[in-house]
Symmetry: C2
């Protein structure tokens, strides 16, 4: 009997060309397909909730697949982890409703962008943060961030993709958490446009350094033009923390 | 004119066979010698304060060298960082007294051993922590740790080295800091025997898991026998945080 299985997937994106299968270079999706197919003895193709870019990390990306294998869904996490490379780990596996699709439902996604703000880099954090040696005014970054919370047209803060016609999204929260020399930009929203989190990070960096005034964020939104905003911050600072589904939709079924 | 220069060196130990030059495999000392020699145009040989093992990290190891080059000592950090691989970074460079030796003086060293205590590993922390899936009782670990603070013979908690005849050392503090699923064991002392921090970590893990009672730590010390203690915890969890020199001895001179 066929069943649908949901995986919570974490990975260190350093050595992957992102999530989605592509001709040049190894991807997380491809590695999951390969090891799941070997484990379950039938061809498996996962569908991911978030197709993260090359170098971006995840603690809680979500993938689903259908299988007729008899292995109980909740055991798959343990069995798969013994086969996967150390930079990918399944945090949970569970059977879900055959209707559940990780992308086509209303979700709340939480991302974190890490900025290491000190005189010289910390080698042990180089793969998981953006390094900035210039002083950053976190209070100014917080003010600028406050203008982004709520429902807005984020056209200025995303990279154009022809297939996306609606660039209105809602940000529920955008917090800047300072822990010593580390600044965690944590952003929570109902969906993010292409490169949106990294462009917000790059733009807040310009505010923190004093290049933009905080209130300029309002003009950036109003411009509806990518040229108005800051750079796309590099991928290694970004981690997809978790994806929350509407009550019940991703709950285990038995 | 010759001058002595002190470097504060941080590195990600993942890809190094430790600090000290050896025939098989690349070491931090060797990479520093090579790039300093190229930068300053004369053969440079550094002396390190702590010869960390393969896979161990450092935020603040200390190295000194003598040079007749005219580059001001405090500029060397900037110039050297542009040449070094990304997993080694100089945090500071300064001219010090010609008498200053990084090893032969009374220092206070602080190490941190990180334990990630959760159901499944976090891929982004795999290179910088020990992963433990079994529940750890941090309160019991704290009690056991308390017996180690002070002056003791740490023979049971170190790997035998023929050239060391005095195994008495002083631990000033040994704290277990819990941050979510991360446990930081931070230890501060006047010198550490070979593998001592990693054996203490491995022994505290046995206490945390319930295999040893906290008070058994007193018997371990009394036994003066390596067999009495727990395993040597793996190197990737260990970071040398900093080395404090007696007032003045490592201070910049002009």
């Amino acid at each position: 009997m066929m069943k649908r299985v949901k995986l919570i997937v974490s990975y260190d994106g350093t050595n992957y060309c992102g999530w989605q299968i592509q001709p040049n270079g190894i991807t997380v999706e491809e590695v999951l397909n390969q090891h799941l197919s070997e484990l379950l003895g039938e061809p498996i193709r996962v569908t991911g909730a978030s197709r993260t870019d090359a170098g971006v990390h995840a603690m809680g990306n979500v993938a689903v697949f259908d299988t007729s294998a008899r292995m109980p869904a909740e055991k798959i996490s343990y069995a798969l982890n013994t086969r996967l490379p150390q930079d990918i780990r399944i945090q949970e596996s569970a059977q879900v409703s055959p209707d559940f699709h990780p992308r086509f439902c209303r979700t709340v996604k939480t991302y974190e962008y890490r900025i290491l703000n000190r005189r010289f880099p910390d080698p042990c954090q180089r793969l998981y943060s953006l390094f900035a040696y210039y002083p950053l005014d976190v209070e100014k970054m917080r003010e600028a961030a406050s203008y982004l919370v709520g429902e807005h047209d984020f056209k200025s803060l995303s990279t154009y993709k022809a297939e996306v016609d609606n660039t209105v999204r809602t940000i529920y929260s955008l917090d800047l958490i300072k822990e010593g020399d580390l600044i965690r930009m944590r952003i929570c929203g109902n969906g993010f446009l292409y490169n949106m989190v990294r462009i917000i990070a790059g733009t807040l960096l310009r505010v923190g350094s004093g290049y933009y005034e905080p209130s300029y964020m309002k003009e950036i939104l109003a411009a509806k033009n990518r040229q108005a905003a800051g750079e796309t911050a590099p991928p290694q600072g970004l981690t997809l923390l978790h994806i929350q589904y509407p009550d019940g939709e991703d709950q285990p079924v038995t």
